[in-house]
């Protein structure tokens, strides 16, 4: 399968600050790749290097098999992008801003403007000056500009940032449709794991300029910590029974018994049988997965070890 984005040991240094270091990424055609990191992790710097807006201090970038050079015209006819906060010319209307974007992509037919206005739900704002748009609609306009010329690759920096829940779902469905029906590749950055976990096939986690982990949606599910929580009238006695059967447990402050061993998490029915056979009647047996945010923070080494009790 062709690689849509390929970086090799990509790095960017600003004076004494190493913004991105040794970043090697491969994004396949037709996939949604999420680039996850906290604010200041190096996401936007990477996207700008992918777009040839910033010259890397080390390494190389290929986008759609084309080596990216500063100020080059290639391969941007096939790339749509939205970097950071979407801006537009405030004195122009939504339609005029899209017309400007159309003329910046020669060969895009005039009817593309109406098509994208409809697709992003901007029809009723078409003749409104963009200086008067809400943040959500400004974001839609940013996405409309990125989609206008039907690109093969979309580079989106925090595409759902500032959208209401309905808007987030809408954009998610739009991106899924683009990849499934038209084979468009999407490379999106985000700082919200929960948002990208529903969308991306692969997730790259960047922290302090380094790609610290790449994982698939399945890996994400597998890697998140799970625990079995039991509620029982006689907590102490149940705890003793579990300990006697080699099941390491912990009594939490909220009265639940917590078990983290793989056998307990994977076969909660066995634990339940064990307690029932010993004369207990567990009132609740819950498998709880680590929250995505907590998992993400654990990945980047921030407060990930403490669990809510």
């Amino acid at each position: 399968m062709n690689l849509t984005i390929e970086t090799e040991n990509l790095g960017k240094r600003y004076g004494s600050v190493q913004a991105v270091e040794n970043l090697s990424l491969q994004v396949k055609e037709g996939e949604i790749y999420a680039f996850l990191g906290l604010n200041g992790a190096g996401k936007t710097t990477t996207i700008r290097m992918l777009l040839g807006m910033i010259k890397p201090t080390s390494g190389s970038v290929k986008v759609l098999q084309t080596p990216v050079k500063l100020g080059s015209r290639e391969p941007w006819a096939r790339v749509g992008y939205m970097v950071e906060v979407p801006h537009s010319y405030p004195e122009l209307t939504v339609r005029e801003n899209l017309e400007v974007a159309r003329r910046l992509h020669p060969g895009t037919p005039p009817q593309a403007v109406n098509r994208v206005l409809e697709r992003l739900g901007l029809g009723m704002y078409a003749n409104r000056r963009t200086g008067n748009l809400s943040h959500g609609n400004a974001l839609r306009l940013g996405l409309a500009k990125a989609l206008l010329h039907e690109p093969r690759l979309l580079l989106l920096d925090e595409p759902a940032n500032g959208l209401d829940p309905a808007g987030i779902v809408e954009i998610r469905e739009l991106l899924l449709e683009l990849t499934r029906k038209q084979g468009v590749t999407v490379f999106m950055s985000s700082h919200i794991l929960a948002e990208v976990s529903r969308l991306a096939q692969r997730i790259g986690v960047i922290h302090k300029g380094h790609l610290i982990q790449e994982l698939s949606a399945e890996d994400l599910e597998h890697n998140r910590r799970k625990r079995l929580l039991l509620q029982e009238r006689d907590v102490e006695a149940a705890y003793q029974v579990l300990a006697a059967h080699g099941q390491p447990a912990k009594i939490l402050q909220n009265g639940f018994i917590e078990l983290k061993s793989p056998t307990a998490v994977e076969s909660p029915e066995d634990i339940n049988h064990l307690l029932v056979d010993a004369g207990f009647s567990p009132r609740q047996v819950i498998i709880e997965e680590e929250e995505l945010e907590r998992y993400f923070l654990r990945l980047v080494g921030m407060n990930g070890e403490t669990q809510n009790e």
């Binding site: 010259k55 015209r73 941007w76 790339v79 801006h87 010319y89 017309e99 910046l104 992509h105 020669p106």
Partner: protein
């Protein structure tokens, strides 16, 4: 060529819809109307008496421009100084607004040559500036006729008019580097600051006797009809414009765009 005409459409649409050309045109009208008003005051002692201090200034202007030749020379100097500031505002807006409004990132990774985008910006700036010069000039001519200036032979008016337009042409060329300052400073502050500095330096250098080799002093010297200007003076102006264009292009093509 098709891309270039598209870029010209884009730049002209942005400029027109912003109404900035309109505001600068209104600003430019203050120059001929201000001069005509002072000359009118000077010629009418009754009004001059009521206005006090203004009448003294009016007398100065009337003394400096008591016939068509001097009047048109004064307009040349106005364009060299006031026009220069207006042109700097125009060029700063055309280039600096992309950074001030955060829209620059949308014109960087596009399949249109950076040179086409910049050429369209320079063309629009040039047309805008030339338009302002024409407004100042035509209104000035009309007001000069209205206040019945003496010495208005066809050759004097033609020669004076050519001087005004040539001065405007030189000013349009020497403001080109301010496109680079607007890009480098990512907004309006640096070019406006540099314009004030250039005007101050132009005065100082002219007083020191080196004005004919200082690009921002040359238009003013031309407007004053100084014979010290040589071919080298015009070459310095042209080289300054060319250097401004090349620096702007290189900056847009090779500078990191991290904001």
């Amino acid at each position: 060529m098709n891309n270039f005409s598209n870029m010209v459409w884009v730049e002209s649409r942005k400029a027109i819809r912003s109404r900035m050309p309109l505001w600068t045109a209104i600003g430019s009208l203050f120059m001929p109307f201000g001069i005509a008003f002072l000359m009118y005051v000077s010629k009418n002692q009754e009004i001059a008496h009521k206005l006090g201090l203004i009448s003294a200034k009016a007398d100065l202007v009337a003394y400096a421009a008591d016939d068509w030749q001097a009047y048109l020379g004064l307009f040349g100097q106005l364009i060299a100084a006031g026009g220069f500031i207006l042109y700097v505002l125009a060029v700063s807006w055309v280039f600096g607004r992309e950074f001030a409004d955060g829209t620059v990132k949308d014109i960087l990774a596009v399949p249109v040559r950076r040179a086409s985008i910049l050429a369209a910006k320079f063309l629009i700036t040039g047309i805008w500036s030339a338009g302002l010069a024409l407004i100042i000039f035509v209104v000035g001519l009309a007001l000069g006729a209205a206040i019945h200036l003496p010495g208005g032979s066809a050759s004097v008016i033609l020669q004076g008019s050519l001087l005004v337009l040539a001065t405007a042409g030189l000013v349009i060329v020497v403001v080109i580097p301010f496109a680079f300052f607007a890009s480098l400073g990512r907004g309006y502050l640096l070019p406006v600051g540099m314009a004030i500095l250039a005007l101050m330096m132009a005065n100082l250098v002219a007083v020191a006797g080196w004005g004919e080799y200082f690009p921002w002093a040359v238009p003013g010297l031309l407007a004053q009809g100084k014979s010290s200007l040589t071919l080298a003076s015009y070459a310095v102006v042209m080289l300054t414009g060319l250097a401004g264009m090349v620096a702007t292009y290189l900056w847009w093509k090779y500078a990191d765009q991290s904001r």
